[in-house]
Symmetry: C2
Subunit: 437 residues, 2 copies
């Protein structure tokens, strides 16, 4: 047994899990395209000055960062948003709105644990250039349609707005410079509970009375426009807070009209850790088993492109974590559904027949039929076993004597019945059988 | 204008080039599956001890190598073969033959130049566990079928065998320990010509008489089994050399039978730089314009899995470089052919209509129809322009007055004719129009 391993916190994907991943990626590309998004692929590494422009507490600690041989500091991207922001910044004349999707990997130097990998794949959609909350609603609807297809139900997208949170701290009388400290504490409500958040707020220098107001407020959550009336009355008098509620209201109306209300929830405690969000924020919670935590999230980031040297540009997007979806679908046994049997196994009886077997295989592949040729010089008995294991529908046996008559044997694997077919007609005959039964 | 750039030698792909890349990747997956290969995905980085086990002169200089935060040496993979060999070594019980394909990026710290990137995508097929030259023939046929689909013609796969080369040095009387030096010199024939190779051989310590024999021999090249008779008579008396010719002969017979003879050439000068090859070696040359050099290559590597700590395991494979194919197809204007117009543009007249527009869009997407909703609050005039630019087939205009009657306007973009349709029927009506014209 080899002691060669993967790098810690990373994994190989093959067999059932890889089939699931391919399904998840292919479906994502299809859904995103149908919503009018175009694909974009960027290098896995970025200059450190690009990555660090994003800000936030833990960037340096969580990034795979190194010097290239020219002694420039670079890092593996930790998300697909920063590369998009760099591209938008350096291509200010891209027609707007620019809808792009990206399917790719990102890397974070987290502590490895269940459902958390140091290398993970993401499926992102973003709209660059629209400041309308309709754009925020759209990216959430795209995520919902994708999750509907691959997951069915068992998930909810929680939504809030950084403007709502700013309004909240304003109403609580928290000074501006401490607002972000509040968001960080509030965001932990689900994890550490009300008392935990209270403590966090205290540690971060928020007074008792202010804390009390915040703690009462952040338990507000619910679906549809009615909960937003409660948001509004709480934020009465705060211009930015009410602006935030207006954005969410348009989103709520869109969700109600589109039948997506049941998959969304407005949650006053949702803040999300990253400091670049400026408006609506989203988080996708998986409600079923296994408990994998968040399936993704996103939000509006109207300043990031400017921070990367571009013109002021509105932007919003959402990201779905593919690796956790793989784990969920694998636990559900979805790989069984995705397993596709082989159409045809071509068995040359002795090596000199292999060239005829490969000729037939090539004709089959060109007709869109999957087929395999034996390259192990195995006996026919062994090949029948192998073909059964591969759930093969038909076998073609290419033997010397048949060939002298210009024929091969065609076997129906379900019954093991065989009949002779002319070698020049076997590809056409199998095409008919595979495609029309 | 931003000064944020990509890392040197790497590129973003979007628009036409990205459409081409998607087409190349999707087609590769389809062809490879039909030949019975299964997908595998491994982390982009490997432990340095894994990467360095491959050997070869330039590994250290050409690898993006760094220490992780746990101070372990790691590197970005420079090909997709070493990860596969690691996986095969640590999973000795994988059923054989194990046919895997991989579509992924690799990284090399080369000097950036036309057609050579420091980050590049590859499409690989490999067969683990078969020592038969039928397996070598198969991977070449897979590459030929793929290139036939995406490129048509304009390419040739040159083939030789390390055994043939060992036979050649044996016949020349070159000592074993200098054989690999010979291969390196010989491999440059196409680049530096006969005189250049002569000089190289001299520098590497090969005598004049030995050089003369090698130089006369390596100009042998041609298609089909007949050229292999010349290989054989040249290598008469060398057991390993003739074994190599036998392998190539089986391959030649397969190519002739499968109609692939015209895409292959046996070339005594082909050696390939990597030191892990043990049998047949392949190189894909692009013959058209722009001159991008090699499109890929591969060969048999029967010792690599053992070197990585696994049991002795035969293996062969071929790798196609996607980035050079992108450059070739982009130069041919293939992106025009791949451009798909948008089916439907849904135009809400004023923001309050956006929710109805998004409801319609969601119904369309679920029916498999691509559609976009305006999120820029643009005027109808602007939206018509935008829809024309996007080559949209139909526009739905959602206006207050129509809606009060439960209707929307459906516009045929080619003629700009419009008619009224019930909002509840518009998705079904468009599905009919888009799918059946």
């Amino acid at each position: 047994m080899s002691d060669m391993r993967t790098v810690r916190g990373m994994r190989d994907l093959m067999g059932p899990e890889m089939r699931i991943k391919e399904y998840l990626m292919t479906t994502a590309a299809e859904v995103f395209r149908h919503f009018g998004y175009e694909p974009l692929d960027s290098p896995v590494m970025e200059l450190w000055e690009t990555l660090s422009a994003k800000g936030g507490e833990d960037i340096e600690a969580e990034t795979f960062k190194f010097k290239d041989k020219g002694d420039r500091e670079v890092g593996l991207r930790f998300d697909l948003t920063v590369p998009l922001a760099r591209i938008s910044a350096s291509n200010p004349h891209l027609p707007k709105p620019f809808r792009r999707y990206a399917l790719g990997k990102a890397w974070r130097y987290d502590r490895p644990q269940r459902g958390r990998y140091r290398e993970f794949a993401q499926a992102d959609v973003d709209i660059i250039g629209s400041s309308s909350p309709a754009a925020d609603a759209e990216v959430v609807l795209v995520a919902i349609e994708y999750l509907r297809r691959v997951l069915g139900s068992d998930y909810i997208i929680r939504i809030n707005s950084r403007k709502v949170l700013r309004g909240l701290t304003e109403k609580a009388g928290v000074p501006d410079e401490l607002a972000f400290q509040c968001f960080r504490a509030i965001d932990k409500l689900d994890k550490i509970g009300r008392d935990g958040v209270k403590e966090e707020l205290q540690t971060r220098g928020i007074g008792a009375k202010q804390s009390e107001f915040l703690l009462d407020s952040i338990e507000l959550r619910g679906s549809g426009t009615s909960i937003l009336e409660e948001f509004a009355s709480l934020l009465d008098g705060s211009e930015i807070g009410l602006e935030g509620v207006d954005d969410l209201r348009l989103m709520a109306e869109v969700f109600e009209e589109s039948g997506a209300k049941g998959f969304t929830e407005f949650d006053m405690s949702l803040a999300r850790g990253l400091d670049y969000y400026t408006g609506p924020v989203f988080e996708v919670d998986f409600l079923g088993k296994p408990k994998v935590g968040s399936l993704g999230g996103g939000g509006r980031y109207d300043f990031l492109i400017e921070r990367l040297g571009g013109p002021p540009t509105a932007a919003t997007g959402i990201s779905i974590g593919i690796d956790r979806l793989i784990d969920v679908l694998a636990a559900r046994g979805a790989d069984d559904l995705l397993e596709i049997g082989l159409d045809v196994f071509v068995a040359p009886v002795k090596r000199p027949m292999v060239k005829y077997a490969m000729r037939i295989q090539n004709e089959l592949v060109r007709a869109g039929i999957s087929s395999v040729v034996d390259v192990m010089d195995r006996t026919l008995k062994k090949l029948l076993e192998q073909a059964d294991n591969m759930k093969t529908k038909y076998m073609i046996i290419v033997g010397q004597r048949d060939l002298e008559k210009g024929e091969v044997s065609l076997m129906y694997m379900s019954t093991k019945e065989t009949r002779q077919v002319k070698i020049d007609e076997v590809a056409a005959e199998l095409t008919r059988l595979v495609k029309h039964g």
